[in-house]
Point group: C2
């Protein structure tokens, strides 16, 4: 028997991944969670039938969520990560020695539990002493904390189910207030081919709140279209104008990000540039 996982990335476009073994399928309090072992990508985490991460390609998303913004902030001591219970972004954040404390707020404890068990390469950072893991609502956490964080990262699922509030204007306003006076935040905002309206909306919202906004992209082969968008909002530091610590960044162990990629990832194909004009 051949077992294939199918994800409809849009109503009329999908991907199929051949499965070796099903490790977990569970209906948690928030979503359908599955971890399967696949032939092409190794172990793979899915939520509500959508690929979240795989062992083969996880590095691009996690590195590209963490490094462009951390390399742009001169002193990112206190970092908040909302979502991303697999721990991949945490692992990357911890590569920056200036980071003293990471608060990681994930709504679904099962994502953390099963990632630790079945995706230890990704979840490795979750047990680091600098990391405080809070099982709770990121939206609430943002609104309960003012002037606290240097950097906020929103590693959400697509705006379906528990992630819906994380794409609302009020959430971005809350992030602005949770950040210190030179704080910055980044959120994944899906892809320009099938979700151009979402990218436009988030960009517009963030432009109204933050003086500096930047969109950049990275290639994630298991995500729709392979071209993933990340949106930065910043109070003071501009990722395109800051002087990068090239020596440190060149030494940092990565497989996708580099100081040259830092500059290049903000250069958008013309049709993407149009979305954020």
């Amino acid at each position: 028997m051949e077992l294939w996982f199918n994800e409809k990335q849009t109503e009329a476009f999908g991907i199929s991944v051949r499965v070796k073994e099903t490790l977990v399928t569970e209906k948690t309090e928030y979503q359908d969670l599955a971890i399967v072992d696949t032939y092409e990508f190794g172990r793979m985490l899915t939520l509500d039938g959508m690929v979240m991460t795989t062992i083969k390609d996880e590095f691009t998303y996690h590195e590209m969520m963490a490094h462009p913004i951390l390399a742009s902030h001169p002193n990112p001591r206190h970092v908040l990560i909302v979502g991303g219970g697999d721990g991949g972004v945490v692992r990357e954040v911890l590569k920056h020695p200036k980071v003293e404390k990471v608060v990681h707020v994930e709504i679904d404890s099962k994502v953390i539990e099963y990632s630790k068990k079945y995706l230890p390469e990704i979840a490795v950072g979750l047990s680091d002493p600098r990391v405080e893991v809070i099982v709770g609502d990121g939206f609430m956490h943002i609104h309960e904390n003012k002037n606290k964080y240097d950097v906020v990262m929103v590693d959400s699922t697509e705006p379906i189910g528990p992630a819906v509030p994380l794409f609302e204007r009020g959430f971005f306003q809350g992030i602005y207030e949770a950040l210190k006076e030179d704080g910055m935040f980044v959120a994944q905002t899906d892809n320009p081919w099938f979700k151009s309206d979402l990218i436009r909306k988030v960009n517009r919202d963030i432009k109204e709140i933050f003086p500096i906004t930047r969109l950049y992209t990275a290639n994630v082969p298991t995500y729709p279209s392979g071209l993933w968008a990340f949106q930065i909002g910043s109070k003071k530091h501009d990722p395109l104008a800051v002087e990068l610590d090239i020596d440190f960044l060149n030494k940092m162990e990565t497989k996708y990000y580099s100081p040259a990629i830092h500059k290049a990832c903000f250069v958008l194909p013309k049709f993407v540039e149009e979305l954020v004009k």
Copy 2:
């Protein structure tokens, strides 16, 4: 009834595209050809079951095959295109006023015929007076012409079926000889995620023949992994060192390529950089 086109992009990874209507399916002398109308991508050409181009995303591949190299050559008067019978690359090449003549060698006349009929937006350039269409073998054409072309573009299918010889060292040597003393060529070389060996091999071959080699990438959502690689071999002009005609390039109508993308597309993710070190 729901009709879906499925392509196994690797043995264990595939895409599915929902089909509205089947326009052509034909076993030509060289390959299985189909053109279908799809919900997500509009009309779509497939050869031997692999997506070649779609109305929605064709611009990225065609622009990114044509413009980085033409913008890098000071006087690309005489251009040869091998393959690409749909005419998309021809259309883009004709945007450069310095191009006086395009020789287009496609092995399968049926690709040309059906593209003209069903994909007129793409095939539009094929009837331009500057274009000479030759139905024939690109491999032979290269070996029969010496010191003739300023620019050669290889718009082949994957190295399966009729395209196999187009990835061999002898073909690249032939291109070197078919080029004038400051000639340049570009070939698509598949993707770094699933075809790293091919990219390594082609890059090694071309490095042995041409003094200047450059790899760049572009996002094509209907191609495996969404990250597509293009390899340049050049006798004299370096796409990263030439002075671009920014005024002209800014005015040129494109949806993906821009002078800024020209610089950025050569910046490779670290794991891709490793393949061509």
